[in-house]
Amino acid sequence: MAKKKPGKEGVNWDYSPSLESTSHITILPKYELFINNEWVKPSSKKYFKTTNPANEDVLSEIAWANDYDVDLAVKAARNAYNDVWSKTTPKERSKYIYRIARLMQEHARELSVIETLDAGKPIRESRDIDVPLACNHFFYYAGWADKLEYAFPNQPMEALGVAGQIIPWNFPLLMAAWKIAPALAAGNCVVLKPAETTSLTALKLAEIIKASGLPPGVVNIITGHGDTGAAIVNHPDINKIAFTGSTNVGKIIQRAIAGTGKKATLELGGKSANIIFDDAPIDQAVEGIVNGIFFNQGHVCCAGSRLFVQENIAELVIRKLKHRMDSLYLGNPLDKNTDIGAINSKEQLETIEKYIKIGISEGAEIYQSTCELPGKGYFCRPTIFTNVAQSSRISQEEIFGPVLSIQTFRTVDEVIQKANNSPYGLAAGVWTDKGSRIFNLTSKLRAGVIWANTYNKFDPTSPFGGYKESGFGREGGLHGLGAYLKMKL
């Protein structure tokens, strides 16, 4: 835990460190590919290291799948689909998914600690948000497997077949759950690739899936870098690509599968607006701003990274925000006091630092938390920019870090135009005490998720996904099933 400087009064109010134990977890020195419920050595014979971003220690070595390995995994999935999974009754399918959910709950603590070690996120978040939501996602979709005919009225449908799923490093286990659970419920088999910096919880999930007795080949988890992902995207025997990640890679994927008949859901970048009106409960709104941009170090596709404050309260809100930023604990992610953990990778830290330099050079005014940074690991102080122009790169481009750009507005119409002036359309936040104004704004903001007087809330029953260049398709809820079904119309 990085110690904070004593406050002005000379009293040190620091909490004592409260480290989560790592004694009960198992991380193998080396992980192979999970194909057909077996651990298979990669034909590439290559492995890459995965590290703890909070101290740069190597945690394990992970197999690097090549085209041949991807083909092996797809064949396993196809055979499982043809021979077993498509013949398994919905009722039995449902029970397998329930089993996975229960086993995940039993392993919750281990999963949380490994997630924090591998991804750098605070243990409070992995323990209270990522892992329970991931379990609940399996629980939610388990119950859909034998009720699909109620989901889309008068629509005959069937499973797609084999889904290729590529997930990001910001919510590693949760994204695996978002992808696998609805795919299985709808009757598909999957080949999933976690991000190269955060493979461990997906591999733990593979152990759980094996223990659940799910038939071999129904879920295959293969690890690797971008070339592994590309091999999945381009494999001819995959029926669907589900991708969460950057808008650039999303476009590469859509171009690659153009005309192939592969179905796609893309959950991509964002630059979401968080809008504070002068009648908002200010202290709650400040908490919402902090949660919107500093949750998970800002590695959140729907992060409230563009703050719009009504002009007459801007000074007050920014003063309170700075005060709140100074009380955030940045440090060891395993410490239960920690609010801000480690940046996921060296590359990402460099990207964030590049954008901070851009912000300064564009003439915006910077403020950073006063906390000290630990000597090792990848950390970034919570950062805000004021006097930001609408055309500034830090208010247009996704930074994916704890960097907030702040603009002011006077009227409702003005803020709607500014908020919608973005190629993205993933999420938005609105803070006001006036119900009619909330409904006016929520219906005019072009974004897939709107949080009114709250921010960054997620639930398995709640569909998530964007408008415009934030991607298409929804994950979660009844509507998330549609992504994994062939509708016959």
């Binding site: 808008t247 859509q254 153009a258 005309g259 709250t454 569909p463 509507h479 119309l489």
Partner: protein, 292 residues
């Protein structure tokens, strides 16, 4: 002496007006007997861009109309078409249909428009959800119109194909730029006249005639078009799909027999919608419950 017939000048339809193509060009499609159907505008990529501007301009107010009002207007299209049935039947015959086929096509088109008029204030009730989240929030998902839809009218029919794709796209508050069947374009322009007299605001539907090769790629690539819908495009499919990537356009190809009664439904509407989920906290203070 026989009366000299007044021939119709087929122009394009942009922003509620009937201009000629800015390019000043024309083409003369022939029917199966080799007779010329007329001199049609050979629209240009510039016409496509103008049409998209008109469609975007019309989107805000059209999408914010009440669902009931949109239903009334779509129904009005059917009324106008009913009144001009004979004109469409004779145009279809001119383009190669038999009298019986032409009558069937026009009647089905009218009935299909009425069918979608009825959906305007119902699809959101059927498709929306209140989501039972675990935290103290009220959470609901509803559909919203998507924006500007590029529509490539099916090539094998002059009227029923374009009605089948266009009407579900606009009945939910989207606006559209439609490229007419290249070889059977007459009904598209006459249909524009129907729209023009049906209280459909100018710009909600924009209709161009010309060649697929020239117009479709530009419409598919346009950065201010949200979705692109068509039949399967054969050899053009990959090029069009790739052109649509730059703004992550939603793209749908429908394989259907448009003259079948069954080629209509809710999901033609919902494909061109966006789902929005809204969260709001529920104040939960004190211990009182709703028990009596």
């Amino acid at each position: 002496m026989d009366r000299v017939e007044i021939l119709k000048t087929y122009k394009i339809y942009i922003g509620g007006a009937f201009p000629r193509t800015e390019s000043g060009r024309h083409y003369t499609p022939l029917n199966s007997k080799g007779d010329p159907l007329g001199n049609l505008c050979l629209s240009s990529r510039k016409d496509v861009r103008n049409a998209v501007v008109a469609a975007r301009k019309a989107f805000g107010s059209w999408s914010e109309r009440s669902a009931f009002n949109r239903g009334q207007i779509i129904y009005r299209i059917a009324e106008m078409l009913e009144g001009r049935k004979e004109q469409f039947i004779s145009e279809l015959q001119k383009q190669g249909s038999s009298k019986a086929e032409a009558e069937k096509e026009v009647i089905l088109a009218i009935d299909r428009i009425v069918y979608y008029a009825g959906w305007c204030d119902k699809y959101n009730q059927v498709l929306s959800a209140v989501n039972p989240v675990s935290s103290a929030h009220f959470n609901f998902s509803t559909y919203e119109s998507m924006g500007v839809i590029g529509v490539l009218a099916p090539q094998a029919t002059s009227l029923i194909g374009l009605v089948s794709l266009l009407i579900p796209a606009i009945c939910s508050g989207n606006t559209a730029v439609l490229i007419a069947s290249e070889k059977l374009p007459l009904c598209a322009i006459t249909f524009a006249e129907v729209l023009n007299s049906s209280d459909v605001p100018g710009g909600v539907v924009n209709i161009l005639t010309g060649t697929l090769d020239e117009l479709a790629p530009g419409l598919a690539a346009h950065m201010d078009v949200n979705a692109f819908i068509s039949e399967p495009l054969g050899s053009m499919e990959i090029g069009i799909a790739q052109a649509a990537v730059d703004n992550l356009k939603r793209k749908f190809s429908y394989e259907a027999d448009w003259s079948s009664e069954k080629s209509q439904g809710l999901y033609y509407i919902s494909d061109c919608l966006e789902l929005k989920t809204t969260w709001h906290p529920i104040e939960n203070i004190g211990g009182s419950t709703s028990s009596y």
